[in-house]
């Protein structure tokens, strides 16, 4: 691992990803952009889970032909894998709903395709 990169850079990346994602979800009107925002939010949280398991100078937590040394934590990697699978199914569901909405209303704008108010 390159020793000149400060230890905190992945956490700053997490903060930046989550901030950008919240901005997109709150302020953008195109439905597909909202879905992209949720994808970026999921990526930020997954990056946070993997980064918290890092131990300095650690190797991958696999015992097959493992060199000597401390291993990084394996449990957050399992949690992240589960979270990625859930993220895939959520995105597929949201995109299918958008395809149907486009067929009904002909627009992808969240204000114009709105049916229920109040």
């Amino acid at each position: 691992m390159n020793q000149s990169i400060p230890f905190n850079v992945p956490f700053l990346a997490v903060a930046a990803l989550i901030g950008i994602a919240l901005y997109i979800i709150i302020f953008k009107r195109n439905l597909i952009k909202v879905v992209m925002g949720i994808g970026i939010l999921a990526s930020g949280v997954n990056l946070f889970l993997i980064t918290l398991g890092y131990r300095e100078g650690g190797i991958i937590p696999i015992y097959t032909h493992a060199p000597a040394g401390e291993m990084v934590l394996p449990v957050p990697q399992a949690l992240t894998l589960t979270s990625i699978v859930i993220g895939v199914s959520v995105m597929a569901l949201m995109l299918s709903m958008i395809v149907h909405t486009y067929r009904h209303t002909g627009t992808l704008d969240s204000e114009e395709s709105r049916q229920m108010k109040g």
Partner: protein
């Protein structure tokens, strides 16, 4: 029989899953076989839940370790912390389990005839069984990450069910809002779980409760968990998805999506009472829950008065009734550290809040089912276009009247008992909150009187001349809930002693919960 009760926690969760995986294959054979199979699976789940409930109310809580050599071997040889996924079923978990199993059975029986003419029915029943499995999993689990996984399972299947009738554009919008907001809430919960894992290297709720210190990272994790679960439980100000989603869900699935939000409320209480418990800053967090409750009550009922869509009106009333539950349990949480106030009115407040959960599950679900019956026969949900259905749909109107009287807190129905408990205890805590609660109750009664008059009384409109009563299975579904309301109205004292007090004790006594997991070293 003994080994069945030992294995019951995992069987209750996995039998619906197995049923969901078998349903597409059975549907290819015949439709009638699939209907009998789905109802059979839910009846088996209901019987197992009642059997387990009887055992827990006499013997105390039960744990189950997945994949160990004995079901209650939480810490294996040579380890010092629990390493496997542990299910822990105590008084309040099985209480929510009874609600889930009964409402799902009523909803599924109701849907048999209501969805008869739709296409893709095998996917509907698969999603319904997965939703039941997700709710039961969230209630029984004792592990934080497992809670996140089951939360996502019930969000995804609930959203797919809400958007099921793709020929209506508003159904798609309701389902889309549900999945977007649920995904954000669940990711917030996952972030908090990551924070807690980074601090303590543990995911089990009992093991975490033993080593929890209330540092700044833990406060951030608590705030994120509260936000995540309040989003899913439709508490104001994060309730925007609820009216759209409850209005458009098909057939018998609206009560199930509503019970899913009640289950997320239970998860919030599990975090506040069993995970943090005594190290918490009880007065602050209690007041946060109370303020969420008061806002929900007030905003829910004022938005409900102006609605013209009948299911949207009921959805806003559901939000307002959830405020009562937040208020009762919040008062109990605020006095948790003060022993004499807890004994005087705190325990009664939590009793009232939890009793209100089960009462609400019965009568709100019944009201949603009657509204869906009106939609099936009349083709509209707009109150301005309905009129005079009381003569033709006799059973539906009687069910609506029972539900409306119960929700407004009119004696002798069960709504009155739980609201009375809440008024009595909250008045001793802070009188003005009790006055607000009583005012909201009166406005609820007014709103439902207006809805009843629009839909069921008055002259019958000419286009609805040959509207008949709804098919039999829908009547059976509604009758199950009516029977539950009548039973709870006739024996409130019995229910409070036998069902509600064990649930309250399970919430207040964090030590019992923790000792069952980490106190049991061999």
């Amino acid at each position: 029989m003994d080994s069945l009760i030992v294995q019951a926690p995992i069987l209750i969760i996995t039998i619906p899953l197995l049923g969901a995986f078998l349903t597409p294959l059975i549907s290819r054979a015949s439709e009638k076989a699939r209907n009998i199979f789905v109802v059979g699976v839910l009846v088996v789940v209901e019987l197992l839940v009642l059997l387990l409930a009887r055992d827990i109310y006499s013997n105390g809580l039960r744990i189950y370790t997945l994949g160990a050599s004995l079901p209650d071997l939480t810490i294996p040889e040579g380890y010092i912390v629990p390493v496997r996924i542990i299910l822990e079923v105590d008084g309040i978990s099985i209480f929510m389990g009874v609600i889930t199993a009964t409402v799902s059975l009523a909803g599924a029986v109701y849907s048999l005839q209501c969805m008869k003419d739709e296409t893709g029915q095998d996917r509907f029943y698969t999603l319904l069984l997965i939703l039941v499995a997700g709710m039961l999993g969230l209630e029984f689990t004792g592990d934080l990450f497992n809670m996140f996984v089951f939360l996502e399972i019930l969000s995804i299947s609930g959203a797919a069910l809400a958007a099921f009738r793709t020929r209506f554009a508003d159904a798609l919008e309701g389902g889309f809002k549900y999945i977007v907001i649920s995904a954000i809430g669940a990711l917030v919960v996952l972030f908090a779980v990551g924070l807690l894992y980074a601090q303590y290297n543990l995911l089990n709720i009992g093991a975490l409760a033993k080593v929890m210190q209330y540092g700044s990272v833990d406060k951030i994790a608590l705030a994120l968990l509260i936000v995540g679960f309040v989003i899913k439980a439709a508490g104001v100000p994060l309730h925007m998805w609820a009216p759209d989603t409850y209005a458009v869900a098909p057939a018998g699935t609206t009560p199930m999506i509503y019970v899913a939000s009640l289950v997320c409320q239970y998860a919030l209480y599990r975090i506040c009472f069993s995970l943090y418990g005594i190290v918490l800053d009880q007065v602050t967090v209690g007041w946060i829950v109370i303020i969420i409750g008061v806002l929900s009550m007030f905003v829910g009922v004022t938005m409900a008065v102006i609605q013209t869509d009948i299911k949207r009106l009921m959805a806003y009333h559901a939000i307002s009734q959830a405020g009562y539950m937040f208020l009762g349990v919040g008062v109990g949480l605020a006095v948790l550290g003060d022993a004499e106030a807890l004994a005087a009115y705190g325990r009664e407040a939590i009793n009232g809040g939890i009793f209100h959960i089960i009462n609400n599950a019965w009568y709100k679900s019944l009201l949603f089912l009657t509204a869906e019956a009106l939609f099936l026969r009349l083709g509209t949900r707009d109150l301005n276009k309905m009129g005079g259905m009381g003569r033709d749909m006799k059973f539906t109107s009687v069910a609506f009247v029972i539900g409306a009287l119960a929700i407004s807190g009119v004696p002798p129905f069960n709504g009155f008992t739980s609201k009375w408990l809440i008024y009595k205890s909250v008045y001793q805590f802070s009188p003005i909150l009790a006055v607000i609660a009583m005012l909201v109750s009166i406005i609820t009664l007014a709103s439902f009187t207006k809805a009843f008059e629009s839909a069921f009384t008055g002259p019958r409109l000419p286009e609805y001349r040959d509207v008949k009563e709804v098919p039999k299975s829908m009547l059976v579904g509604m009758a199950i809930l009516v029977a539950a309301i009548v039973f709870f109205s006739l024996f409130p004292g019995l229910i409070v002693d036998r069902m509600i007090s064990p649930a309250t004790d399970a919430l207040i006594n964090q030590a019992t919960y923790v000792n069952a997991i980490v106190g049991s070293t061999p």
